[in-house]
């Protein structure tokens, strides 16, 4: 593929800082190797435990729609690690070490995904610039995960909620510098990201709304003051 990359896809991809920083030859090579995969809402891109090197596996770029990255326990409880937005590249870990997928990836909407097959990915990894870029991508991942870790061990609930909201408002994994004015998702989902119950979250959100930091709606949390929300993260 390549020749006729839809404008929307092109924009989404180039809005991603990692892809934008990738040298042009590698960028083009990656797109040239990619196949397009279109999935309906609710479909699963891969399951926890899947072999990534097998056919159907690969290095993915989401170009349209939303993907939920999560893990489920036997008892049915689910933890949402992230909600991916267009522009995000993911799935490289399993390709690098050949181990099974660590998470489920589920389409929250109808999605369009670029798939770089395992063989092509491995071939790209033979190039210095690409290998360096993957190292940079992983460094960013590690940093993001450190942030999440500290949340759970060091921050109070209030600050954790505030931090997660800011992360989501910045596009979660993408982490663009500009903050969106609102995040749209059921409170249940946000609760699963934080590892708490919906009821507990509801109470925290209500408190933040009382303080004028948030405005709550149906499947929607509006951030009235980014500064105030950031203050909550640091104080609490």
């Amino acid at each position: 593929m390549n020749a006729t990359l839809p404008r929307l896809w092109f924009d989404a991809l180039h809005a991603n800082p990692w892809f934008a920083a990738l040298p042009a030859p590698e960028r083009q090579a990656l797109l040239a190797e990619a196949e397009v995969l279109r999935l309906p809402s609710g479909a699963m891109l891969f399951h926890q435990g899947d072999a990534a090197l097998a056919a159907g596996g690969g290095f993915y770029a989401l170009v349209q729609g939303l993907i939920k990255v999560s893990t489920v326990r036997q008892d049915g409880r689910e933890a949402i690690l992230a909600v991916l937005e267009p522009g995000n590249w993911f799935g490289e870990i399993s390709l690098l070490d050949g181990s099974p997928r660590t998470h489920d990836a589920t389409a929250l909407t109808a999605i369009d995904v670029l798939v770089v097959p395992p063989a092509a990915f491995t071939r790209q990894m033979q190039g210095l610039a690409f290998a360096q870029a993957i190292a940079a991508l992983l460094a960013a991942r590690v940093r993001g995960l450190y942030g999440l870790m500290e949340d759970t061990t060091l921050r109070g609930l209030r600050a954790r909620v505030a931090h997660r909201l800011l992360t989501l408002a910045r596009g979660d994994a993408t982490q663009s510098p500009d903050v969106r004015p609102a995040v749209s998702l059921p409170q249940e989902a946000l609760a699963m990201m934080l590892g708490i119950t919906r009821q507990t979250l509801s109470k925290e959100l209500a408190a933040l709304a009382r303080d004028g930091v948030l405005k709550l709606g149906y499947r929607r949390i509006e951030i009235v003051s980014v500064a105030a929300l950031e203050a909550v993260v640091h104080d609490t």
Copy 2:
């Protein structure tokens, strides 16, 4: 340095799977570039917020002693991310993205550390094999962090304690396949890794000891049955 690498250091380094898998030329280059740094117990190798690219920064290998990797809050509460053992390489994230150190690194004992200066690290990253190896190292880090994340969101307290014990018994970051029969550290430290209080941990340990899975001593937790401990991780 290189010519006279003490036997103990050599063994520690080569016991580390990442270093052992590194191609010989890169392995030698890394050691050739490294300087030896010796610090007394309690000294800090670096602080959260330090510029890693500055003089004194670098890519580190611990060859002797123990290092605590942690973050502290304003109020004094501390979260321990890991306790590094000889053979571990660390500190690459900040070198890759030029951002400040994410954690404090404190010597728990007198330590010997190999330091690859920032310039040398960056030079090595211009080589394909090394860049690939760093990608692999980061992939392993990410996987480890995913494991820790799931602990806090998905597992009950009992399972979390069991999992952390097993991780420590495998050498924490090193994660050697063989499990040590006991971990030696104050319960307080373990509690800080788990983000819980010492009292709560004490109760959990007592319960595991009652079940015959552990034996408790002074600054020491003996693992009576690895299998039983693993069962606790998966069941609870």
